[in-house]
Subunit: 234 residues, 2 copies
DNA sequence: TGTACATCAGTGAACGCGCGTTCACTGATGTAC
DNA sequence: TGTACATCAGTGAACGCGCGTTCACTGATGTAC
């Protein structure tokens, strides 16, 4: 009755779409994104290959949709972690959980790019949403450390205009911040966010690709030390 | 005449092998590793498909060989940078140059793992060689900073037995160091090497996959700040 | 220097496979009167 | 409540493609005597 009420056909349609995607994820987990096959998905669903063309324009459309969903999922995970108020280390833990839950989903977004393929344009917006969340948390953590314990006396404490750039990177970021266009974060927060982001990916991409197996140590211990240590560490 | 002298046939053979590999790299750069095709390589060399089986056991063998070469190439690059005496930041620059020279070569080693495929066993040795070089440079940088400027008075300065583990990660690494089995580096150096390694990969994997394009800043400035900054920074 | 033989690079045909995608069509489900 | 029509999910056959790989074979190159 309401405008959003779905007809039975629409409900069925979205359900089948969801099932197709679910099987697609299974396949990606099993054989990687390059091993995704429409015919194989159809067979698993008990239908013939061409039937899938009722639901997706083709193989590329399906992959595009999966990429979109993966981005969305990470953005939501990030937002939830930020809301939980567990700070940067909470973001880090959430991201690791998200990545370990389905490594191929991580790789679909952040892994080896397929030379021909280009991600859909709207993922840029989602990517910036993710960075905005990260910036929010960085900014909160930044001021949380210094202000009301007045007179602590660090030279870089918060002044109302925000501190001036402290080095070449911060100066550069102050002028090149399209990725944070709407965000009021000062340069040293931009820097902190970027560093945290890249370091997260460093540990995760190596761990997920299996480059720590056989080295002997527990990746989780490394992760904890890198992302839940003292705030000032990096 | 000498034992190592190659017969004309052997020379020809190694040359053709090299040409096959060269074309394979071209293909990987163009279409990614999953797009590598024996028949296409043969066609580019002006020969028929089955001819390649004189030189490689098959597609998988060829890829394995490329992976091996990529590892070897990085190990050599690292060793050369270490010998140059430019320290950790020299290693970082060398690695970035190596990666940018052929991103798909980087991804063949450190990119999305193909679920079925397993790297040849001897790459483990090369991987450890790379870590050993990194540890050497970390160790040198570590002592270089503190010793002869005696009385600098940092609590963590070098004592002859090496300092005790400073936190959970260092304690863990002290007991789980198969990756550095033969290396005398103390825990805090192991930690430093691991952190540097993961951070390198963080920036590089994001940069090479194109996740910085459109963000506005210059990846090189970020890289320089992360890896050529003050020694103590992270 | 010349002959007889072994080695080995490369060919061409063929096998079987799975892929994405198109097309004309059937049959069930929903809608309008 | 019943009939007439439109919508749309799904089928089955077919197209063309490129793939890795095998096999029996040709012909050139190298080796031994």
């Amino acid at each position: 009755m309401a405008a959003g009420a779905a007809s039975p056909r629409e409900r069925y349609r979205t359900q089948v779409r969801a099932e197709i995607k679910a099987r697609a994820w299974d396949q990606i987990a099993t054989a990687g994104a390059s091993g995704l096959s429409l015919n194989a998905i159809a067979k698993e669903l008990g239908m013939s290959g061409p039937a899938l063309y009722r639901y997706f324009g083709g193989r590329d459309d399906l992959i595009t949709e999966l990429v979109r969903d993966a981005y969305r999922s990470l953005a939501d995970t990030f937002a939830a972690a930020a809301d939980a108020g567990t700070g940067l280390s909470g973001l880090a833990r959430a991201m690791r959980r998200w990545a370990l839950a389905d490594p191929q989903r991580y790789f679909l977004v952040y892994g080896t790019p397929v030379p021909g393929y280009r991600a859909p344009d709207d993922t840029t917006a989602t990517a910036r949403e993710i960075m905005a969340t990260l910036l929010d948390v960085c900014a909160a953590e930044d001021t949380a450390g210094t202000p009301e314990a007045a007179g602590a006396g660090t030279a870089e404490a918060a002044q109302e205009g925000g501190p001036a750039p402290a080095d070449a990177l911060e100066a550069h970021l102050a002028d090149h911040r399209q990725w944070a266009a709407e965000h009021p974060a000062p340069p040293h927060v931009l820097r902190r966010a970027l560093a945290y982001w890249t370091r997260l990916h460093g540990v995760l991409s190596l761990e997920l690709a299996g480059h720590f197996t056989g080295m002997g140590f527990d990746p989780e211990v490394l992760f904890t030390a890198e992302f839940e240590g003292l705030r000032g560490r990096g």
